[in-house]
Symmetry: C2
Subunit: 217 residues, 2 copies
Amino acid sequence: MTAIDEPANARSRRTREALLAAARTLIEEHGFPAVTMAQVAERAGVTRRAVYLHFASRTDLLTALFDYVNDAEDLASSTRRVWDAPDAAAALDEWARHLARYHPRLISLARATDHARRSDPDAAAHWDLVRRDWHAHCRRLSEWLDHDGRLAPPWTVDTASDMLWVLMSFDVLEGLVVDRGWSRERYAIHLAALFRATFVSQADDSRDDASSRSGTR
Amino acid sequence: MTAIDEPANARSRRTREALLAAARTLIEEHGFPAVTMAQVAERAGVTRRAVYLHFASRTDLLTALFDYVNDAEDLASSTRRVWDAPDAAAALDEWARHLARYHPRLISLARATDHARRSDPDAAAHWDLVRRDWHAHCRRLSEWLDHDGRLAPPWTVDTASDMLWVLMSFDVLEGLVVDRGWSRERYAIHLAALFRATFVSQADDSRDDASSRSGTR
DNA sequence: ACCCAACTACACACATCGTATAGCTTACTG
DNA sequence: CAGTAAGCTATACGATGTGTGTAGTTGGGT
């Protein structure tokens, strides 16, 4: 899906990258609504018409950019730590750290995509795919917690998944990190505290072998 | 502030109301980006030009509409229950119920305002005022909890206020109630559970006079 | 019956998206 | 090292939407 036009010209590939880079910096500087195709073209050093030779529409450019950044920023290595955790409770901590580590870089693009999806069905479809994927992660965490017997009442796998999922909201992240000036560190710590207090039941932690009992492998 | 143009004509007042009602239903049906001034005018039965005799811009119409609905829906009576609670922990429960009771009616308008503020400084300013007001509520709750000696670690009044504030996010509400199909009841219960587990320390509830000790009056 | 505010009818300037078309340039290929 | 096709430019166009300008018409209040 990423490499549909793979056998493209060298020049073409360069222009495409320049357009994506231009769009990215412009969006991060001024926000998506303020960024026009003309501006992207100008910053990339091409004609406005040329942009449409690479991207069918403004929305198409945005979604391609989102995927591009998602790939470039090495999402996989950040989530691996979550699934490598010894038990579900530790995984939840890592999940909070992952959100604090990885998502801040996506804020402006996520905002842009969220903005676009309100007026464009294509953007909405793309955004839904991304969020569906996130929800699967949250479900996996909830199931793990449940399997370890540490899912606190009144939570079920379903409700915990949903709640974890909405807590990934960029509104939450942006509100704290941007509007209220929280550091990523502070964000990670307090989000982890919220997760733990809310979803993790106080099991017999005195038994030190508890972690080995419930490992993944 | 609401009645700046109070001495207006009877016809003028009727038209203004018709425009607000038209805009409201249209936004709730199709979302703000899809609603044009021409459509609002048509539904209200006036000329597009006439809309600009009542509202300086599309943003102005939106913010006026937000305030109008906020007043009409009787916000005050919904929040009163929070501050009438016997103690801070109960107030937090009421706060969750308030959010589940009152905010769903505002979803489309809040989405619209949030959308508009990305591209319009005036909308951003108005939205900031509303959110500042919300933050004050959250701070009051946190201070009450702290005063009752039931603010759980690692929370401080500052951090708890901020976290409570971002949890008011319409992303959270919309994600659960719209995307995941939660009922308001379910939303209220689980939000209250999250609040309680996260922010309220397990105090000596056995002492039944604890509530009387920490009342507001 | 009068008058002024409120509204209409219509035209304009401007921004932005997306498309069309003819021609020029650059990179690959034989 | 030419030839050629892909990639790009230059320029124009249609469609929508916002917000303004202006002259004329209507209706509510006195």
